[in-house]
Each structure stands twice: as C-alpha cells, then as structure tokens.
Symmetry: C2
DNA sequence: TATTGTTATACTCTATAACTATA
DNA sequence: TATAGTTATAGAGTATAACAATA
C-alpha cells in the first residue's frame, strides 16, 4: 500500500514555496471543515469579521484588506446579502459607494462562526506545540509585505 | 490615494490561515515571475525536479509526492511531453504504468530553471534576514503533516 | 477484484476588460 | 477626468465519476 519506496525529494521539501503550499492546504482544509456546518467559506468568514469590526466599510476598502479584487468581491457580497447576513446601505456624501453592515442575523452567524473558529485555532495551537505562533505569523507577514520589491527584476 | 484610514483588522492579521494565504501569494508571485521566461509554472518546476531526482518514477507516485491528483497530473505530463522535456516510457514488468524520464532538452531546461530559482531563493533569504529559514520550514512541514488528524471532529 | 492511467466534466478561485452612475 | 461598483467572461487550479487496459 505505502508507495513511498524512498523518494528523493531533491531539496524540494526545503523550499519555502512548497512548504507554504502544503501548510496552507492543511490549515484551510481544517478551517473549511469547521465552517462548513455554517455554510461559510474562509473568505466569507474573514469578510464578516472585518465588516463587523468596521461597520459602514466601503467595498473597495474591504477588497484591499482581504486582497480580493472588485468583481470577485461583488459576488461574495451578493451571496451574503442574499442570505441576509450583510446589507449594502447608502453612503451620505457619495451615492456611488455602498456602506457594508452586518444584520442581526449576520452578527448571530458571526458569533457561531467565531466559536467554530476557536476549535480550529485550538487544534492549530496544539499542533504548533512550543513553537512560537506570534513569531511564525510575524515572519509570514513580513514575507507577504515584501511583495512590493519581490517579483520585479 | 491611500484608502487605509486605519482599518480594524480584528485580529485577522494574527490568524495563521490568513497569514499563510498572503505569504504564499507573495512567494508564488515571485517564483512565477522567475520561471515565466522559461514558460514554466511552479508545479511544473517541482515536477521536473522530482522526475530528475527519481528517473523512471511512475505517475501515481509522482502525484502523491506533489499532492496532485491523477487527472490533473495527466494534463501536466501531457503538456510537458508535448514540449519534449519529459517522456513516458514503458515499465518492464507492468504494462499499465508509465516510467517518467527527462529528455536531454528537459535536463537543459531544468538547469536553466534552477538558475532562475536561485535568484528567487536569494531574494527570499534577503527578506527573511536573520530569521531561521530551516526552522520556519520545519514548522510549516509539521503543520502540513498534521493534516491527518486535522479536519476531523 | 484491484490498480494505472485516462477521459470527461464541473466547481472554485482568480484575473481582465468594458460598462454605469456618480463625483 | 477619475472613482465605486458592476457585468461578463476567461483562465487557472482542483475535484469526482466512469472508463480501458492490465495486474
């Protein structure tokens, strides 16, 4: 059954991109399983968290925060609005923009989602063990922030 | 221009899944840019590295190593074979399986790709600075390996 | 019966261009 | 002229079911 038969990974298992992909796959798999009973995907959970903490947020700002592009965000907002967990309301001085808010139903859903997410977080912490999670996240954020100069030249 | 206007991230920037996604986005963006002149994507680069280090590898084993499923691997192998950088050759005692090998052209392409990849690696190391890269990768691999128990219950 | 590889297909995520209505 | 949001669309990446050839 085990088809392992000692493969030479040729250093691939020591490359950051490869390790990042597999780790993200595992973490998202767990997070998705946690949120599935609430019919929420990870991106939708992030959206609810940010809108709840920043009521009246405009879509463009939200998209920048989540690294989701305009057209793709429209779809997400459409679906969540159809479920009546968020609403698009008018912005006083700019009739082009939409202010995003959670509904009472949305706040309730977010509360449940945070409970589900806590279980995911606990499993992750158990897996990390004594490894310093804040340190790990700081390094990952630094890598992500370097996007500016990375990729050119 | 800066639409930042102090957003409350509500702890989202301290979550591993969120950090992983952004870091992977940045790293892959850079790697893709490095490999683009050779018309190679990250997954194809990984494939060449593994096949070169394990000549005669069967597709099923390769798929397990790369975490790519059968039907998707067929497409990748088809395209690389059409470019004449790899070949499917018969396996002595099993006429169902195909043994994968790099062609001379493939080995040449891989050599160029490794040079391009070294530049990516150098940028990454510069970005990581004094942070311990092997340590980081060890933690990521541990998270990925936990996939077995993560996600259930 | 089980396994290797393949075909066909579908679903999600992401990306781009062009449009509207406002500013 | 520029901006916020939208529409339509296309391309990756990934997933499953069913099949042929072989074991």
């Amino acid at each position: 059954m085990s088809e392992t038969e000692s493969i030479d990974m040729a250093g691939l298992d020591r490359e950051l991109g490869f390790a990042l992909r597999l780790a993200q796959l595992a973490v998202f798999k767990d997070l998705m399983a946690c949120l599935k009973p609430l019919s929420l995907r990870p991106a939708e959970y992030s959206l609810l968290v940010i809108v709840h903490a920043n009521p009246g947020l405009k879509q463009l700002t939200l998209g920048a925060v989540l690294s989701v592009q305009g057209p793709n965000l429209v779809t997400m907002v459409d679906q969540l609005e159809a479920r009546e967990v968020i609403v698009r309301s008018p912005v006083p001085n700019d009739r082009r923009a939409h202010a995003l808010h959670l509904t009472a139903k949305g706040r309730s859903l977010l509360r449940q989602a945070k409970t589900a997410h806590a279980k995911h977080q606990a499993r992750l912490n158990r897996c990390l063990g004594k490894a310093d999670a804040p340190d790990l996240i700081a390094i990952l954020n630094r890598i992500a922030a370097a996007e500016a100069w990375i990729g050119e030249r």
